[in-house]
Symmetry: C2
Subunit: 397 residues, 2 copies
């Protein structure tokens, strides 16, 4: 694991958090946490880096970043150099909390809850109850609102340094896929191949971008529905496909890429497989050509979904793309259909500096699923591929 | 990182969860989560091991364990062999959720929120709002209650296998301290010593029990207040103390131990240092002799706190001990004073099978703080030390 001892990214994100407030018509953003090594609000790694122990309040206004923390956390927070005002306490945070809010007197206070976006939903029910108790008999209780929009802008608008780390994570992922083209052979089990990826990750000092149980997902042959399943004893076989869903975390930032291998010569690729592959490859390109700042999430999903249906395949049962950053699923606008389980996230708008995945599968009659995933950065003109899109099936002889 | 591919512990904890229901007068325990790789309810690693992606419900009744999960998670959950009934969904969980609750018709449904205990407070505000929406127009909305007591019993009553993993984590921690007695020398920086501990952890294939930034905490000389601060360029010096707060995670279970080194001969130990050391050592022993099943948290804290005050020192500004398990701070009953920031947790009762730390510091006039921490298992008769208590200052020449 790469240990970050400097906090330049966290500092610039904390400053970005202050700047976005005005645009969102919010006077204060209030991050309210405790014992974050046990369950951390997902915003915390963006604007602090590290944990807080006792009940802690991070308050952002246009002109000041305030941290009220337990006395044992004070030195640690101070050493990061992110917060302007650091107030330690011992027995109870209540008094300082009310005092600081009274000093800043914000009219609208955004707190971290969201029905739609897990990345903006870091406040627990118990902590919310505590906050309501601490603020009773103050005017601030009735000034609380959701920070969903604020957090989505903050997470979504990647700084140059954030993009640079994601690029590096993508590059390392592609390097490992390149090594895999030399390692993978007919007759290996999914577990053997999974283990190879982990040796490469150790070697390159990165960790998996999601749950290590199924990162990478390795799917040999037509047996498994792609998803969140770990590797098995299934063996690679001549004439079969091999699917990967893989990402790494480099200095806290993720990649997320799917690749398809085929065992045999290019000339041996069955036409139903080739047709499926081209449909996925070209569907991703169609969406990439269409996406631009101002596009709405579900519109982008529709481009690929219509493309797939026009090609005669059943539509994929997930979203076309999610944002990528500190988290492999980084929240905010989703390039997904308007299904209930996605809430409002497909109605979000694409912005410059967002990083998205573009991914989907189609199902063949005899060879299982064919699925690809690329990573893109939204630019003023449209988008730039961060990954080098897979153009042909990677044939292993 | 040790990757667990078998789920025997999670299975036995899930079964324990069903058994505890009746005793707590609850008909169903309802765990309600999404995208847990981003923010996981702390109970999830106990009763699942691994992540869930879409909105997911794990429902425990006396006779059945039900998982309603996204279709891509189905195979992964099934392969663990923990749940009796696994129901996948695609577009929305709402219908299946209501259907399964109707089938079991529980009168009291415990959900994961708690003002006192972060380990029992895994439900987010947004997820709670979603649940209220899904259950409106059903009788179940008004049957929800806090699972705090249920979770505290489940986490706190360690199974034999859980205790065995904690023992192993403690053993590894003690081995690393033993190696450190040979490595540590006068003139090293805290960072050099911290790095040595991390090389040992890599070597022994364990990870840190808490935030890697300050695990181990390494405090050389009288300069720092002990707490959650990372290592610095402070150097070890003859006649000075060196303090460690260190724990490892072995197969998901934690140790948490503090040790004190002194640079010089035993005969060089200043009397104020020796007196402080003996006060801490003996205060811990006094609490250990007193603790037993049925004791209330704050009573145990009082034993050590009174001991310290009687010895003429200022009392420590934290709790005497916390539980230890999957988490370094494992929630439930706290051996702490009745301060507002600890909520109700010091009023909890000590039970057989609980694992606690016993830890505190006193402050010397010229040499900074002296602090120790041991790990104990509650037995029917009282307690057993899992760590070998430090009896004398470890002298480094």
């Amino acid at each position: 694991m790469v240990i970050e001892m400097s906090f330049t990214i966290e500092k610039s994100k904390a400053e970005q958090a202050c700047k976005i407030l005005k645009e969102q018509d919010i006077d204060a953003w209030f991050v309210w946490v405790r014992e974050t090594s046990q369950m951390a609000d997902p915003v915390l790694e963006l604007i602090l880096g590290g944990d807080l122990t006792w009940q802690s309040a991070l308050i952002f206004t246009e002109d000041e970043k305030i941290a009220i923390v337990g006395n044992f956390d004070k030195d640690g927070v101070e050493s990061k150099g992110i917060y302007d005002t650091i107030i330690p306490y011992t027995a109870s945070i209540r008094e300082e909390l009310v005092k600081q809010l009274t000093r800043k007197d914000p009219k609208k206070i955004a707190i971290n809850y969201s029905m739609n976006d897990v990345a903006a939903d870091g406040l627990s029910v118990g902590m919310h109850m505590l906050l309501q108790d601490y603020l009773k008999n103050t005017p601030y209780l009735n000034r609380l609102m959701s920070a969903e929009n604020h957090i989505q802008k903050l997470r979504g608008r990647k700084t140059a340094e954030e993009v640079s780390r994601i690029r590096k994570a993508v590059k390392i992922t592609e390097d490992i896929f390149e090594r895999a083209t030399k390692f993978v052979k007919v007759g290996q089990t999914e577990i053997e191949i999974y283990d190879f990826f982990h040796r490469c990750m150790n070697d390159l000092k990165v960790i998996s971008a999601w749950d290590v149980d199924h990162c990478p997902a390795v799917d040999a042959g037509p047996y498994k529905q792609f998803g969140h399943t770990g590797p098995t004893d299934n063996k690679t076989k001549n004439g079969h496909l091999l699917h990967f869903d893989f990402g790494v975390k480099y200095k806290g930032y993720c990649s997320d890429i799917q690749r398809m291998f085929f065992f045999g010569d290019t000339k041996d690729i069955p036409s139903e497989v080739q047709d499926a592959f081209e449909t996925v490859r070209d569907g991703i390109q169609a969406a990439a050509k269409w996406i631009r700042p101002g596009a709405v999430g579900y519109e982008v999903d529709n481009i690929a979904r219509d493309f797939v249906k026009a090609a005669g395949y059943e539509e994929y049962q997930h979203a076309l793309g999610h944002q990528l950053g500190r988290l492999a699923h980084d929240g905010g606008t989703l390039l997904g259909p308007k299904w209930e389980r996605y809430g409002e996230s497909p109605m979000g708008v694409v912005e410059v500096g967002n990083v998205f995945t573009l991914e989907f599968y189609v199902t063949t009659e005899h060879y299982g699923q064919v699925s690809l995933e690329e990573d893109i950065l939204i630019t003023r003109q449209g988008c730039e591929f961060l990954s080098k899109p897979q153009e042909e099936l990677i044939c292993i002889n």
